[in-house]
């Protein structure tokens, strides 16, 4: 729900040339800086933050919804805290997930007290500053992180949901492979009819790109770990106009890894997902 709102707001943000930057400092009690970094990307880029200590794992996904000169920051937290030890000496962890939100002006600093509201001094917090600017043609997300305290396990990641994906298809049968055919597909757009040729034989398919089903894992959902996963639905064109023949679905990240889907005629469809060029 929030993700959809963020996507809509991002689309309506300031046009296609806008770039959003999350500047982050992780500070310990006594103003000791543990790490600093930044994540930037096109409108709609989210920030995934993770901090692991001996007694706590804190992971959060920060999303923004611009509203004029202000911006609403919504954060979904997924935390684990060491609650003690079992009688058999194993660690017992408390797992929690919740949301936080705040409205601030662009350039203001939001202090995120990771272990709760400060009472006489917080022991660890995150300073977050949001900036926006013109992209200058740079469409790719960027991440930078300097960890001052090497003992700290801190991560910053840009999370971008693909608006398009490059899908490269091959047909394979035994040792014969067809030439690759690439398509730029938009998730949830209407199906597209394609024709693949191999050894003088033509295969017609209808392909459509969709988003994956929500993950059954709460952590995966909260942290949008499947943000860059897309699914290709393949349907054999109906012999008569009324009868569709679903072939299957193949899902994967946009990481240039080939994934195989057997076709009814004995061929195998190999699909590779990648970010579109020029990103």
């Amino acid at each position: 729900m929030l993700g959809a709102a963020a996507s809509l707001a991002a689309a309506a943000l300031q046009g296609p040339g806008t770039r959003v930057t999350y500047r982050v400092r992780v500070v310990e009690q006594g103003d000791r800086e543990l790490a600093r970094g930044a994540v930037s990307g096109p409108a709609g880029t989210d920030l995934r933050f993770a901090l692991k200590t001996d007694s706590a794992d804190i992971e959060a996904l920060f999303q923004i919804v611009p509203q004029g000169d202000t911006v609403i920051v919504a954060a979904e937290f997924f935390t684990k805290r060491l609650a003690g030890r079992s009688r058999r000496g194993l660690a017992l962890w408390e797992q929690d997930s919740y949301r936080r939100g705040v409205r601030l002006a662009w350039g203001d600093t939001a202090r995120v007290h990771l272990f709760g509201r400060p009472r006489g001094g917080s022991r660890l917090w995150l300073e977050l500053v949001l900036e926006r600017g013109f992209s200058g043609g740079e469409g790719r997300p960027a991440e930078e992180l300097q960890v001052v305290d090497a003992a700290s396990d801190i991560r910053l990641e840009a999370v971008v949901r693909p608006r398009r994906a490059r899908v490269i298809l091959n047909l394979v049968r035994a040792d014969t492979v067809s030439g690759p055919r690439g398509f730029d597909l938009v998730p949830d757009a209407p199906a597209r009819r394609v024709q693949l040729a191999m050894a003088g034989r033509r295969t017609n398919l209808e392909i459509a790109l969709t988003r994956p089903e929500p993950s059954p894992s709460a952590r995966d959902r909260v942290l949008a770990l499947d943000a860059e996963v897309v699914c290709l639905r393949v349907v054999a064109p109906p012999p008569s106009p009324d009868v569709a023949q679903p072939v299957g679905v193949v899902c994967g990240r946009l990481n240039d890894v080939a994934r195989r889907l057997p076709l009814p005629g004995g061929d195998t469809l190999v699909a590779t997902f990648a970010w579109p060029s020029g990103r």
Binding site: G84, R100, L104, R111, G116
Partner: protein
Amino acid sequence: MSDGHETWLKQIDAELDGELSLVERAALAKHLATCSHCSGARASQLEVRVAVARSAGDPHARVVPRPIIRGRALAFWVVVAIALGVAGGWLAHGRWGGPGGSLEDSRAAIVVH
């Protein structure tokens, strides 16, 4: 025979504690008159009780005096029990943890500066 003696020895204990009825005391007296073993056991029991009464500081007591719990001793053992409880709780919390504070207090908070 041995079981019979066991029963009479229990009756002797009960008699010295003043717990027997007249009928039971009469039966016991009749048995003691004919059984040197049980009458010897009764004499031994009486001697033990005399020794206990003496050690309790009351050699002329009619029955064995009950131990008296003094205020200081009571206070001492209460303090020891509390200290043991606190130490045990502290160790158990360190090992197995505890319920902790309020959940909301432990969750992240965002403050705008």
